[in-house]
């Protein structure tokens, strides 16, 4: 019943949609990137960025400035915008926005869990957490001494609790490789997020279905690619794939069996949406793949803006900003390390 959300969407979410869409004007354009590419030092980059939306965040940074500082400040901008919107959001949208940040939350929880096991300082760990993935009780994570206790005392109250309880047993918590645990949680999260979006219905379901399908397929691809030659067995690998996406279920079977890049490639090329990406790659090379996937993601996010009255723009906004910060990081690193010839290899132009 598409169309009816046009009448009712703005009742609750019109304001925030206006806000999030207008942030699009603040994103760096091709011209901005060209200017940044011309910079000789990080100071120049800072100067160039002060003319953009990031200006207020960077202008008071003392020199010498480092890439990490720039990235940090830019992330702060995203976080502030995000939190501003999150505080104004209303039930469904708030829920949706929380779902968007669960990915970071999983990273943070994993970070703190491993940090606690290595007896790191809690404050130090909290500083390292991604600000988008914070939740109220995150500091108490460090109280627990072992994984069982951690779950019983702390994780139960977090939004991530179901992912832990449904996918991991106590034994897993103690023994599992932390990366596998992270990806198991991520899989559960994506499944849950997709289900939530379908429940929201209408345009949001349509657009987010598309975006999440891409995200989960990209994860499946990456997991396969990165697990070749490691101890991860095929069955374990398959367990990390989400239960939806364009590759589900036949593509997943093929990916689970794949042993080298060309097998992955033939599995992926059976899906029309991805054959285009792989046709840009020469045979056997997988280095450029990340950038091509980022480009595809950006394209999907930009397409998101073509429709109105749905939540997908919030997700897209977050992804685009993150890509933009990645771009800035890449440019600054290239400039700082005197590798300006490589600048073009990393930038994904958004608009």
């Amino acid at each position: 019943m598409y169309g009816f959300e046009m009448m009712s969407f703005n009742i609750k979410d019109g304001f925030l949609e206006g806000v999030v869409r207008s942030h699009r004007t603040g994103m760096l354009t091709v011209a901005d990137y060209n200017n940044l590419s011309q910079c000789e030092t990080l100071e120049d980059i800072k100067l160039n960025l002060t003319a953009t939306d990031y200006g207020p965040y960077l202008v008071n940074e003392a020199s010498p400035i480092y890439t990490a500082t720039i990235v940090d400040r830019c992330t702060q901008k995203l976080v502030n915008d995000w939190n501003y919107m999150r505080t104004q959001a209303d039930e469904n949208l708030a829920m949706f926005m929380d779902y968007c940040t669960y990915g970071h939350m999983i990273d943070n929880v994993v970070l703190i869990v491993t940090g606690t096991l290595h007896e790191r300082d809690v404050q130090e760990l909290l500083d390292k957490c991604h600000p988008l993935g914070m939740f109220d009780s995150i500091a108490t994570l460090a109280v627990a001494q072992n994984m069982r206790e951690l779950y019983r005392l702390v994780l139960v109250d977090t939004p991530l609790a179901p992912y832990f309880s449904e996918n991991l047993t106590h034994e897993d918590l103690d023994e599992m490789n932390i990366e596998i645990m992270r990806n198991t949680l991520y899989k559960a999260y994506l499944d849950d997020f997709a289900a939530f979006c379908q429940k929201l219905g209408s345009t949001t379901a349509e657009i987010m279905g598309d975006m999440l399908a891409f995200e989960t397929d990209r994860r499946a691809l990456n997991i396969t690619l990165n697990s070749i030659g490691t101890e991860l067995t095929r069955d374990d690998r398959k367990k990390l794939y989400s239960n939806f996406g364009l590759l589900y279920p036949h593509g997943h079977n093929e990916l689970a069996m794949a042993e080298d890049f060309d097998q992955i490639r033939s599995a992926m090329e059976k899906v029309p949406a991805y054959s285009g990406i792989f046709s840009k790659l020469g045979y056997g090379e997988s280095q450029m793949l990340d950038k091509l996937l980022y480009e595809e993601e950006v394209k999907k996010c930009v397409d998101c803006y073509e429709q109105q009255f749905h939540y997908g723009v919030f997700y897209a906004y977050m992804k685009l900003r993150e890509q933009e910060i990645r771009n800035i990081m890449w440019v600054s690193e290239c400039v700082a390390q005197d590798q300006k010839g490589r600048i073009a290899d990393g930038i994904v132009y958004l608009f």
């Binding site: 009816f4 304001f15 206006g18």
Partner: protein, 205 residues
């Protein structure tokens, strides 16, 4: 509120309507629709009821549409204007378009209201001119009201898009404004038909 997006609603809606028709028509169990009973029913209703309802619907629906449109436009406009304040004054035009819809309703309501004359029923029954007048005022009110309701929503949605697009790219404003003008013309059709319908009203021979 009834969620029109749920399919089950579309199953119950015709069923409900049929049931209402059935209840109304039950004067004599021998017929599915008892026309004599219906005639009696409608003949006994006062034409002033219909004309008052028409006036109310004309203004009420129009204003509902206008208000709906304004909040659709307005919420987007306010949101977008935080980052891009320059769009506010320009995009007030969308709000004004929505406002115009309410004004149509008010105008039609006033016109309809002036059409109402005093006639007395004979033996408790109004003569058929008076009945016809009541129905035409009701009809023109409904026409105008619903036309303006939908028009208001339409202008509101387009206006919302207009505000958001203008925030991205100011050259889009005029282009979308054209679309919006066509949208707001829809309300005028309702107004015209409403005025024409009520134009020939005669309360007595």
């Amino acid at each position: 509120m009834v969620d029109l997006t749920r399919p089950i609603v579309w199953f119950y809606l015709p069923v409900t309507i049929t049931w209402i028709c059935f209840v109304i028509s039950v004067g004599n169990p021998q017929y599915f629709i008892d026309y004599n009973w219906l005639w009696l029913l409608f003949r006994s209703m006062s034409p002033y009821f219909w004309s008052a309802l028409g006036v109310a619907l004309a203004v009420g629906m129009s204003i509902l549409g206008a208000a709906w449109g304004i909040f659709i436009t307005g919420s987007s406009l306010v949101g977008a204007a935080i980052r891009v304040p320059r769009i506010t004054s320009k995009n007030l035009i969308s709000v004004i378009f929505c406002e115009a819809v309410a004004i149509y309703g008010v105008i039609v309501a006033i016109i309809l209201q002036t059409k109402i004359e005093r006639v007395d029923p004979v033996d408790g029954v109004y003569d058929k001119y008076a009945l016809a007048a009541g129905y035409s005022i009701f009809g023109s009110g409904v026409t105008c009201g619903f036309a303006n309701l939908v028009c208001g929503m339409c202008v509101g949605i387009v206006g919302s898009s207009c505000a958001l697009s203008d925030a991205q790219n100011s050259t889009l404003f005029v282009k979308i404004l054209v679309v919006e003008i066509f949208g707001s013309a829809l309300g005028l059709f309702g107004v015209i038909i409403g005025i024409i319908m009520s134009g020939g009203v005669k309360w007595a021979a």
